[in-house]
């Protein structure tokens, strides 16, 4: 009886249309660079990365680092637009790229998704666009952590840096604030929605893992106070395995964050601008002020009304701060 019911319902449904496969690239999430050769890409350390540039080759190199781990650079593109006659692209050769296993870049297994591998990737990109030279780093959220980790390991390769809403630079700090950052109440709708998807599909491949991660993206960190609905920060595709395994690489065997991106940071003599959104409750002003002394020459600026997505919702204000900061070194354009 039950088999008949199932077969009857299934047959009726399938007769009505052509059934789709969730594992088919392009159905649930956009294709990556390995599935769509028309996407701009570069190959770094054997991995094909979604990447594009703005500005003119030969200008000082600025490398953008998106958040996550596992997000993409789609919303960072706004930082290359022109506001009030000013554009970073007039002064820099800007490199946008989706990190390994993230956005529209090639997907990888756990062994290729480590902090060391991420560091090697960024070093290879710096070498590709500024051989033997220095670059300016711009990072948002995890991008600020990633950039700081790179400075910690390669202090001579970074001229200056702008980090927007940087996450915790030490595992001990992350452990302290993670209860405030993530809303893990068992009855929360985002958490139950995400768990409930197991009734509809199994997250057994990259496509379905990335798709499932998207369901929890909006509600998991409410105190970031990001914009919801029309005008929300856009993404192409999240990288679930990159998000999971890069984070796990910064944890001990018990799952406690134990990384430290600041062990060598005081040797870095370049300037750092830390930008916070005033409405970002956990990763905003208090955390940026707390982390400011970890760098030798860092300043903190706050964008009023901005949340964790301040680079997207308050782009002109963020660019104004960046312009002032970068002009001091003579490359960012005078005010």
């Amino acid at each position: 009886m039950f088999a008949r019911c199932v077969l009857a319902m299934g047959a009726a449904s399938l007769m009505a249309c052509d059934p789709l496969s969730m594992s088919e690239p392009g159905h649930l999430v956009p294709r990556t660079v390995t599935e769509d050769s028309s996407l701009p890409s570069i190959t770094i350390n054997g991995s094909r990365l979604h990447a594009e540039t703005r500005g003119t080759p030969g200008k000082p190199v600025m490398i953008m680092l998106h958040g996550g781990p596992g997000a993409d650079y789609r919303s960072l593109l706004a930082l290359a637009d022109r506001y009030a006659g000013y554009s970073l692209a007039d002064h820099y050769y800007i490199v946008f790229w989706d990190q390994r296993g993230a956005g529209l870049s090639e997907r990888h297994t756990q062994d290729k998704l480590t902090i060391d591998q991420y560091d090697a990737d960024l070093l290879a990109i710096v070498d590709r666009y500024a051989p033997g030279g220095q670059v300016t780093l711009v990072g948002q959220s995890w991008g600020g952590m990633y950039g700081t980790s790179f400075i910690n390991r390669h202090p001579t390769r970074v001229k200056e840096a702008v980090f927007i809403e940087t996450g915790p630079l030490k595992g001990s700090t992350f452990e302290r604030i993670k209860g405030e950052l993530f809303d893990l109440h068992l009855l929360r709708e985002w958490l139950n929605d995400m768990a409930w998807t197991a009734q509809f599909f199994s997250a057994d491949d990259h496509i379905r893992m990335d798709y499932q991660m998207t369901i929890g993206a909006e509600g998991s960190q409410p105190r970031n106070n990001t914009r919801k609905g029309p005008g929300a920060e856009p993404f192409w595709r999240l990288g679930a395995m990159a998000n999971r395994y890069v984070q796990e690489d910064g944890q001990d065997a018990k799952g406690r964050f134990n990384y430290d991106f600041t062990t060598n940071l005081q040797r870095y003599t370049g300037r750092v601008l830390l930008i916070a959104g005033s409405r970002s409750e956990v990763l905003g002003t208090p955390l940026q002020l707390e982390q400011q002394p970890l760098y030798r020459h860092a300043s903190v600026e706050v964008v009023q009304g901005g949340g964790h997505d301040v680079h997207w919702t308050h782009t002109p204000a963020v660019l104004g701060l960046m312009r002032t900061f970068l002009s001091a070194s003579g490359t960012g354009g005078a005010r």
């Binding site: 052509d18 649930l28 709708e189």
Partner: protein, 220 residues
């Protein structure tokens, strides 16, 4: 959980105390019917109400049932599950019984990415000791979404992927489970506890890696 306790209180307060609560096959006779309420993490927090009746079919003790539940954290009832099931006692030796079950399910969801409805099947086997006042058994099973209709939200198209495909999806996966179920009669109400681990068809952990159900049953 509040809904479960409220339902139990209403049943007790309305004169049902003399009903022999039952969720244990060993205490059911053909013709007996039971109501059950439960709260579970399976795979999200879901509160369900069910009705089951025992009959004899071709000489075998067979329990037919219907159950419906809604997921917590969503007042619009967009996340739900309904199941139509049958369980057949396929083996008995003394207090040891083996029950095979099959269910047809329909489920719905409404989240920030898509609205979905699917039809699926669940098959399982439970084997263990069934005594009049208690039972404990091991269980294993497989839940298979067969066809799933997906309609993506405008928010997902706007923020992530404008060209996401709406339609009927097939072969979207499945969930395996392995666990234990136990129950006891307590002052006229049968309490049931079920817990175990669940994995996707490919062996990946779910968002909630395990499942657990706390239920109460009432016979009439």
């Amino acid at each position: 959980m509040k809904r479960v306790l409220l339902f139990a209180a209403l049943m007790l307060a309305s004169g049902h105390q003399r009903l022999a609560a039952q969720w244990n096959l060993a205490r059911l006779e053909p013709g007996d019917a039971t109501w059950q309420v439960s709260t579970a993490l399976d795979p999200a927090i879901i509160t369900s109400i069910g009705y089951r009746q025992l009959r004899t079919v071709f000489g075998a003790r067979t329990q037919f049932g219907v159950e419906a539940g809604v997921v917590a954290g969503n007042a619009d009832l967009g996340d739900y599950r309904a199941r139509l099931e049958a369980g057949v006692q396929v083996y008995r030796r003394g207090s040891f019984r083996t029950v095979a079950s099959a269910a047809f399910l329909t489920r719905g969801t409404s989240n920030t990415v898509f609205r979905g409805t699917n039809f699926g099947a669940d098959v399982g086997i439970t084997a263990g000791m069934y005594r009049p006042r208690w039972f404990v058994a091991g269980e294993t099973g497989y839940d298979k979404p067969i066809v799933t209709h997906v309609t993506h939200t405008q928010g997902y198209r706007r923020t992530y992927y404008a060209d996401a495909k709406d339609g009927w999806y097939i072969d979207t996966g499945g969930t395996r489970r392995l666990g234990v179920v136990t129950g006891t009669s307590l002052r006229g109400v049968e309490l049931m506890l079920r817990a175990g681990v669940a994995r996707t068809r490919g062996g990946e952990a779910l968002v909630a890696p395990g499942y657990a159900t706390l239920g109460m049953g009432f016979r009439f």
